[in-house]
């Protein structure tokens, strides 16, 4: 069938303008039968589609858990957790999460197709990942039209103006989230948005505040929405309020395992982010007795790592190869500083209980500078070789 259609899209065919779209679909269905013409005669089985689909696969545990958790938080908040089945919980979660995913993919891919046709380049695979990351970083009740606008903004301003996948400076999904965060703060911050009540009344004593918001006012002694105390294990498992994909550190670590084992995601970055966060939080703990006004200082390091978007950012956002540092040493510095800055923003800036997004975006901008110095060191080493010899 594809062969029959192909002539219409070829040079001179009626639909030639739409060649990128045809090509996008054709190569989606079939890895093309192109053979090597220059250089190495055999090539590794991997391509960008395979890479991206591996990342999507790694996000599936966080997505599935997120769907369940949206429903779980809903029924917990309205006091019906004991009377509903698992099926009901999942159904509610799906009703909230699926539309977000569909809107994100439809809008994002639409924009990508438009750009491919206008600039007649082939469709890039990058949005396969961004399209799922965007909904996972949203609260469950995010209005769909806002997600649509944010996606358009992120793809156009965040990526296509730089020349498409591989050329962007900022992580595309985080650009979308930052847009939402600053354009519609009421829908993505505070303590009203993290649990989808679906128009029903919450039980008495209910609080919608996330763990991070509670850290700001009461330090490590936090509770879940119905008043039960929460600790490390609750955060690690992730049945807590938050953005859809970020809550379960366990599910995210399964993703990290997939990325690390397949060699697609940089373990170096992930470990450095966690190390940076842990060390910075531990240092700030030391200051807690000197500044009793800031209870966030007393939050122990291990809680920082399992609550909020820390793990999600470390595993899925910081590792974006296009916007991260590219050199091995650069990756360590880049990851470490992301972790450290996240904790600094969380603890020392009262306006932002969460710092992951801003920290990663900031380090996206700083990454080329880090690489510059790493490469300069290599160049100096090479020049030194000559002077040592001459001496």
């Amino acid at each position: 069938m594809m062969e029959k259609l192909e002539p219409h899209f070829k040079e001179g065919g009626k639909l030639h303008k739409f060649w990128p779209v045809y090509d996008g679909f054709a190569t989606f269905l079939f890895v093309p039968g192109h053979t090597t013409q220059k250089g190495a005669h055999i090539r590794d089985g991997i391509d960008l589609k395979r890479t991206m689909i591996t990342v999507v696969l790694a996000m599936i545990p966080a997505l599935l858990f997120g769907i369940y958790n949206v429903g779980y938080q809903h029924f917990q908040a309205i006091g019906q957790l004991d009377s509903v089945s698992t099926g009901d919980i999942i159904t509610y979660g799906l009703m909230k999460v699926l539309p977000l995913i569909i809107v994100s993919y439809a809008v994002g891919l639409g924009v990508e197709f438009g750009f491919s046709i206008a600039k007649s380049h082939s469709i890039n695979e990058g949005f396969l990942v961004s399209g799922l990351l965007i909904p996972l970083t949203c609260p469950p009740d995010m209005p769909l039209w806002m997600v649509a606008i944010a996606t358009v903004f992120a793809v156009v301003i965040g990526k296509e103006v730089f020349g498409g996948t591989g050329m962007n400076v900022l992580n595309v999904a985080l650009t979308a989230r930052a847009f939402l965060f600053f354009a519609y703060p009421a829908y993505i911050s505070g303590d009203k948005v993290w649990i989808s009540l679906g128009g029903e009344n919450a039980v008495d004593g209910f609080t919608g505040a996330t763990a991070l918001a509670q850290f700001t006012s009461q330090g490590p002694n936090i509770t879940n929405p119905v008043g039960q105390p929460m600790g490390f294990m609750e955060g690690f498992i992730g049945l807590v309020p938050g953005s859809i994909g970020e809550t379960s550190t366990l599910a995210i670590l399964i993703g990290a395992l997939i990325l690390g084992l397949s060699g697609i995601g940089s373990l170096r970055i992930m470990v450095s982010v966690f190390a940076g966060g842990y060390i910075m939080a531990t240092l700030l703990n030391l200051l807690s007795s000197s500044f009793p006004d800031n209870p966030y200082l007393t939050v122990p390091a291990h809680l920082h790592l399992v609550f909020g978007g820390f793990a999600f950012g470390a595993v899925f956002m910081a590792t974006d190869p296009v916007t991260a540092a590219q050199t091995a040493i650069g990756k360590v510095i880049y990851g470490f500083l992301i972790g450290a800055f996240t904790i600094i923003i969380r603890v020392l800036n009262p306006a932002y209980p969460e710092g992951m997004m801003l920290s990663i975006l900031f380090m996206n901008v700083a990454a080329p500078l880090i690489d510059y110095y790493v490469v300069q060191a290599n160049i100096k080493r090479r020049l030194k070789r000559v002077t040592v010899k001459a001496a």
């Binding site: 053979t35 190495a40 090539r43 090479r382 000559v386």
Partner: protein, 480 residues
Amino acid sequence: MSNELLKIIKFATVSSTKYENLMGKNIKIKKGLDIRLDGEAEKILVNAEMPETVAIRPEDFVAMKPKVLVNTGDEVKAGTPLMYDKNNPQVMICAPVSGEIVEVKRGAKRVLEEIRILADKEISYLPFHVGNPENLTREQLIDLLCKSGAWNFIRQRPYSAVANPEKAPKAIFVSAFDSSPLAPDADFVVQGNEKYFEAGLAALKKLCPVVHLNVHKDRVKSPLFLQAKGVEINTFSGPHPSGNIGVQIHHIDPINKGEIVWYSTPQDLVIIGRLLLEGRYDTHRIVAVTGSQVKKRRYVRTIQGANIKSIIGTDNVEGTDNRYISGNVLTGTKIPADGFLGFYDTQITVIPEGHEPEFFGWLAPGFNKFSNSRTFFTWAMPGKRFKLNTNMHGEERAFVVTGEYEKVFPMDIYPVQLLKAIITNDIEAQENLGIYEVAPEDFALCEFVCTSKINSQEIVRKGLEALYLEEIESQKEVHH
């Protein structure tokens, strides 16, 4: 007192480095990749028939500007000059067989493609001076090698062009082994030619006092290499590209701007040695016939530039849609089924073409795909040998994935940054990032593993050629 102590320490360190040099170095290559290809040659040596035709192609030389010295219909002997490179006019390129010039083939813009010789049944050789290299002066030796065509087997870095005999190198390097996929066995291919190899090595010592002979801990066993006299023997271990001369130079005595090193290979030294001891330009060599499509995979004794039909033999290839490669699958040249063995090649590889599109190939588990990433399940089958075809397995994209090249690039050089400097034509950055230390072949594994399917060997080749031609131009100006 402290001064005394310092002197002692200094003496101790200096003498220990000297000692290390004498013994040669032990170098572990950790980054790299042995592609587990199906189709290794069995260690059986057969003689090829005399090929009907033999060809010499300028394409096998770096940025060559050929000056042809023969016409169609001329009779030549083995050792008769056919052409020379205007970039290196002292060095003759000579006929490997005797016979009649049947074609001086030119392509678009009259660019010389090949000189083809109809070979005699029995080769008659042009006689050259016979003598032990020790009895010749350095100048006499250079003159003899240039005149006879054997000089072409001494190449230089940077640029991997034929060495310029007028510029002395700081050292000469010989890699005793080839680590590329399905490469011929180092010990096997010199058997029976030991004295010629030794004479070739002696010639190198005459040309430059510092000669490094690099062996592999597991791949090289022959005492011919391990006990070679008067050279520094360095031992490498680890996967491909540990046998690449560029990698070896980088770890032993790296090239700085303005420096030159020369290099050669054992089989090429055999040809040099034979010229010196027997007085004839005899390019007989042993070629490994490899690849999953070859039925009887063996070592074949043949001649430089031979038509590969005579090497592969009749009815020895499976199927019809195949890629014939002179050389190995990473760096070799695509040739037709009746093409010619490349000037420096000692291997022929035949693999299937891969024209078939793969339905949802990027999603399938891929039990027959080889990947340096672990995105296919074949990573869990460490013993499996792969029958790989020429499919690209994807389309070209911008650089996206990082850290991928570095896993297979065992030098203290940033490969992606260097490639970008070449693409943007930033010569200062290229020099700073170490372009003089690399050759296209050093990027072959990068090209193989590349997710974005970027042809990096081509990029490096063009970058180096531009620098090489610029250097030659500037030398000409100095001469005027």
